[in-house]
Subunit: 305 residues, 2 copies
Amino acid sequence: MSKLVIVGTIAFDAIETPFGKTDKILGGAATFIGLAASQFNTDAALVSIVGGDFPESYLNLLRSKNLNLDGVEIVPDGKTFFWSGKYHLDMNSRDTLVTELNTLADFNPVVPQEYRDAKIVMLGNLHPMVQLSVIQQMSTRPDLVILDTMNFWMDSALDDLMTVIKEIDVITINDEEARQLTGEYSLVVAARKIRAMGPKYVVIKKGEHGALLFNNEEIFFAPALPLEEVFDPTGAGDTFAGGFAGYLAQAQEINFDVMKQAVIYGSCLASFCVEKFGTERMQDLPKEEIKQRLEQFKKLTHFKI
Amino acid sequence: MSKLVIVGTIAFDAIETPFGKTDKILGGAATFIGLAASQFNTDAALVSIVGGDFPESYLNLLRSKNLNLDGVEIVPDGKTFFWSGKYHLDMNSRDTLVTELNTLADFNPVVPQEYRDAKIVMLGNLHPMVQLSVIQQMSTRPDLVILDTMNFWMDSALDDLMTVIKEIDVITINDEEARQLTGEYSLVVAARKIRAMGPKYVVIKKGEHGALLFNNEEIFFAPALPLEEVFDPTGAGDTFAGGFAGYLAQAQEINFDVMKQAVIYGSCLASFCVEKFGTERMQDLPKEEIKQRLEQFKKLTHFKI
């Protein structure tokens, strides 16, 4: 089984949407990425940090999905990263109410020895220098290093971000961030400029408007599934990344057709994620439902002319 | 050849975009719809009104595309409808600078006798009562009545709009308007509510984010082609409608698969429209280029899983 290293936050989230409100529940980029990737036949390890307040039951949930947690540092007298946010009525924008970095402030990810030859490395959104340190720990060059980032690092650590971007193969970024990073409004032009910074593949996430995959002059578009109701968008982008990375980890080879499939799997899993609060929908998602939804994606987009 | 009746404005447009500025050029919904529909093997008639200031050369351009102009009233001492707008940097929003209704204020469309048995009627954006009067002139019920409208009529003539919506088969509307008309944020729910108002098919246009087609529980999504540069979005929605209606006019039968193809043709033609100012790109568009672009749409969206 191919190895997949997933680096990112494991967190407590408290979420408020027009549909309801949660107390502190399981969240974090690595959590969502891991749960999505666990749908595929791959040997995935999470690299993250939590505090002594993090419930054993959450760790057991992740373990039950065959996610290796040797790289998850537990700081007994520390507190787990906490994020709280409130979504606006349109669910496309949100206000961050609380960000407590806690143990995350001192996060120095250590990739377990037996995962340093992993085929795929998925770097969740973190400080670019933390992301870079993971790449440098690998004993062999992974087939693919995938990086997720956000505008916060463009504002506060652009030089570092540009340094790590040089070293990666795939970047996942949202449309506004792609525009901010390049100063280009056209996503076609923005993707070309980002590819010139390093990554061969650029995935631009447009939330409810789908995702675009760029490579050389090839473009692929995956819609988001039109849903009756988006209950909670938290983790949708990370779930997309997890489905994308998980699919690629178990693929026989990497080419544009396989990347297209990975984008569809990512979109498919993200469409489940938003149906319930936090990780609820992803904790117990039958393969049969995924298969049915992939068919829905096909019906939604395919035509004969 | 199947007959297609196109009702809407023929206008002068003056457009300002970040790329440049035009004097009064050829514009109007019926113009864009007609030019797009003229790409198909159909007998199309425009029903509209212009003033004595409207150049014979523009009329000849439309005639040269085999568009019947018997239903275009020319008011010798009147002035042609004039619209002027300025697009913002993102090209998704615009300010209307000038709207001079002129002859349009007294527009009473008269469908020429020989087109009153048309297979398809495409009602461009106009006062709902003007749209209704066209339906009432038809001697036989058309296979499809397609209606385009906008938020302006929801604000100022909602009851009239609801009256005409009852009588139609297909509505094309943008996402914000669908939300305004139904009070629903989810486009899936909004489309269902609109179908309950009358039309069997609902097409929701999302501009650069593509278009959705709804019928019963079936959904189809056509992306907008990602472009290097959107030069001028004026007329893109009408060009979409014209491609959609033109394709349906020459189709052997109407079913969901054919509707899907019509949406793709509409999206394809709209992707050309935005490449130049006004109608420039649509005035002389080789069939070979359309064919190539349809292949691009296929490559953009099709995948194997």
